[in-house]
Symmetry: C2
Subunit: 360 residues, 2 copies
DNA sequence: ATCGGTGACTATATCGTTATAGAAACTCCT
DNA sequence: AGGAGTTTCTATAACGATATAGTCACCGAT
């Protein structure tokens, strides 16, 4: 208690201290702790009293070692902007709630996608003997997934629609969502729609199937269905940031003054697009309609309020944890895809409400 | 590998397996792992090869047990809305970055403030032998702090300006921030300012000094400095949510049509206030000016863009971790308060820019 | 008196590491 | 040749818990 030079550890009583103080064996204390029910009320009472007095807490470390279970789940988020994307944050909420409920611990790891030391991060997970890994965001490399799979540690991908060698994943229906967004714009009469992508595809940060790929597919499907060809000169890259999208869209609007709409694959980029429209002296939605993707909270705060595709972030997090726990209890389980609905939320930025009120 | 019924643990090779396969003793493998430098190059090579082949990862659990260190920090967030408040999210970003850098693990725990089982949550921390605890949000009870202090586990409070029996904490300068916000409104000529508080004070959820108390102090200071009395009938409760603030402010605006400004102690509530103003047929900032607190990202997205007090969330998280690590290495350290600057960010919702352009 | 059963408790091995203290084989010096 | 010093490796006891397999009294039935 006095000259405990060893840092990082408050010297706490162990099961042995309790046993000694209560005048019983270590086994007896253990039996009390685990409620074996073969200890007399009298002895049990004495043991509990001593535990209380000495402020004893059994070491989860030691317990886990002998139980060969860590009760730890790992959330690994790879992102360029850190945890900054509000959507990930919503997912994280759902995850914590569900992990807590299941009696597990959640270790949170946020890595920069551009950081080449992801192997080290994985190694730490293996060393910590985490019982499951959740992968979210933009993976630094397809090898991440291969490694995790090879490790045999149960894993689920969140918001990464991986179609190749099967893995369990949870995403929104990105294809349908993007299709709906595009169809909505087309139905409002738009033909020249600027498409704001995340990163360059296939690019340095995204050698894997990503939500971006899926959304692009849905978008092109909608165009095709209406006989509109995909025009690459309407494509720009917003890097998932507001400022990135703002400058990209501004440049694009100057090049293509005939564009009357913007579809950004994230709300944050849609906000940037709205700013870009104003930068060029035009108005949203009168001159240029804007639609986003995610339906983060801020989407309803902005003016005009953003029309977007609603993703159920919290539910996504919860589902991911449930799936992971299922794999943990039954490792032979074959991979399963959970695809959550992605619905169109019509607000003001697309001009639909204005139009409908004109019609009325 | 085949009939491993035991779930939650992929049977992995242990140091013993490596030793056997490499034909050396367990000690030798340990020495290789820890780079004692007393193993011949030849032997070391062989051992490393075997480790590679068998996919060996030393168990952090066992290591920590013998090292008597857990290398785990715990973030405990108490909130009514879960992790939903965007500001906490920014803080969390800073925390993860710094924890990672220090070679620790971060366990994330989010508890509902209204949940009475917080003792159990704390017990879990003690059992996990976490080396430090970060407390954030609205504590369920003052006893939480007392318990944590009594436990002897190093702890810092984040965004909880605790003034009583000294604890290390990190917050923004809430008093100065609120004072600046109020003074700004007063300088623009406002006299009847609606004050949107978080929870009822002193209420069920907040029996402790909170940021809300501090902000209220700064607000009243500003009023007093300008000879304006605090009018309790201008006070309302927004519960830190957008909808809560919206309905509270709407009701208040109807009761007090003479109010020309709103100061909400969080941006999210300020967004609700802006909606409330519009609900009553008035405009922001022409009829009613609105100022918030936090400067979350969305503050710059909304229209009119929100004038607010900027808090450095990410820095707050980083500082908290640094302080915690300092306490861990030197437990005798006396508690320290870190108060980060809270600056006024003038945007559109207060009408200052309009006014200054009129003057120009 | 012997036996079986039960209630209350305990001794010891084990989990997968590291720390401590040696041991065995060389090399070098005188 | 004998000892000191190196180099390389190892045996064993921790760390703090649980699991397994007891032991020992005592009670009632035969």
């Amino acid at each position: 208690m006095s000259d405990d030079v060893q840092s990082g550890w408050v010297q706490r009583p162990t099961i042995r201290d309790i046993a000694r103080a209560a005048g019983v064996s270590v086994s007896t204390v253990s039996h009390v702790l685990n409620e074996y029910g073969d200890i007399s009320a009298q002895t049990e009472h004495r043991v509990r009293e001593v535990m209380e007095q000495l402020n004893y807490y059994p070491s989860a470390l030691a317990r886990r070692l002998v139980a060969k279970r860590s009760y730890v789940l790992q959330l690994l988020l790879f992102a360029v902007e850190g945890l900054h994307h509000p959507f990930f944050y919503e997912v994280t909420c759902g995850i914590t709630a569900e992990v807590e409920k299941a009696g597990y611990e959640l270790v949170l790891g946020v890595k920069d996608t551009r950081d080449r030391r992801w192997r080290e991060t994985l190694r730490r997970c293996y060393e910590a003997k985490v019982e499951g890994i959740m992968l979210m965001g933009t993976l630094p490399s397809a090898k991440v997934l291969a490694e995790v799979r090879a490790s045999g540690v149960p894993a689920v991908m969140i918001d990464i629609p991986f179609e190749g060698p099967r893995v369990t994943y949870v995403t929104s229906d990105n294809i349908a969502g993007a299709r709906r967004a595009a169809e909505h714009l087309i139905s409002l009469g738009h033909r020249n729609i600027i498409y704001v992508d995340g990163y360059d595809q296939p690019g340095e940060y995204a050698p894997l199937p990503t939500i971006a790929v899926a959304r692009r597919i849905g978008y092109e499907e909608a165009l095709r269905a209406h006989g509109i060809g995909f025009d690459p000169s309407l494509l720009c890259i917003g890097n998932y940031t507001q400022e990135g999208a703002r400058s990209a869209v501004r440049a694009k609007l100057e090049l293509r003054p005939d564009a009357t709409a913007v579809f950004a694959i994230s709300d944050v980029m849609a906000f940037g697009a709205m700013k870009a429209v104003r930068d060029t002296g035009r108005r949203v939605p009168t001159d240029v309609a804007v639609v986003g993707f995610d339906d983060i909270e801020a989407a309803s705060y902005v003016r005009p309020a953003l029309t977007t595709i609603k993703q159920q972030g919290e539910l996504m997090g919860r589902s991911a944890v449930c799936e992971l726990l299922r794999i943990i209890t039954n490792p032979k389980r074959s991979p399963k895809a959970t695809v959550l609905p992605a619905e169109l939320v019509v607000r003001e930025s697309c001009g639909a409400s204005r139009l409908s009120s004109q019609l009325a």
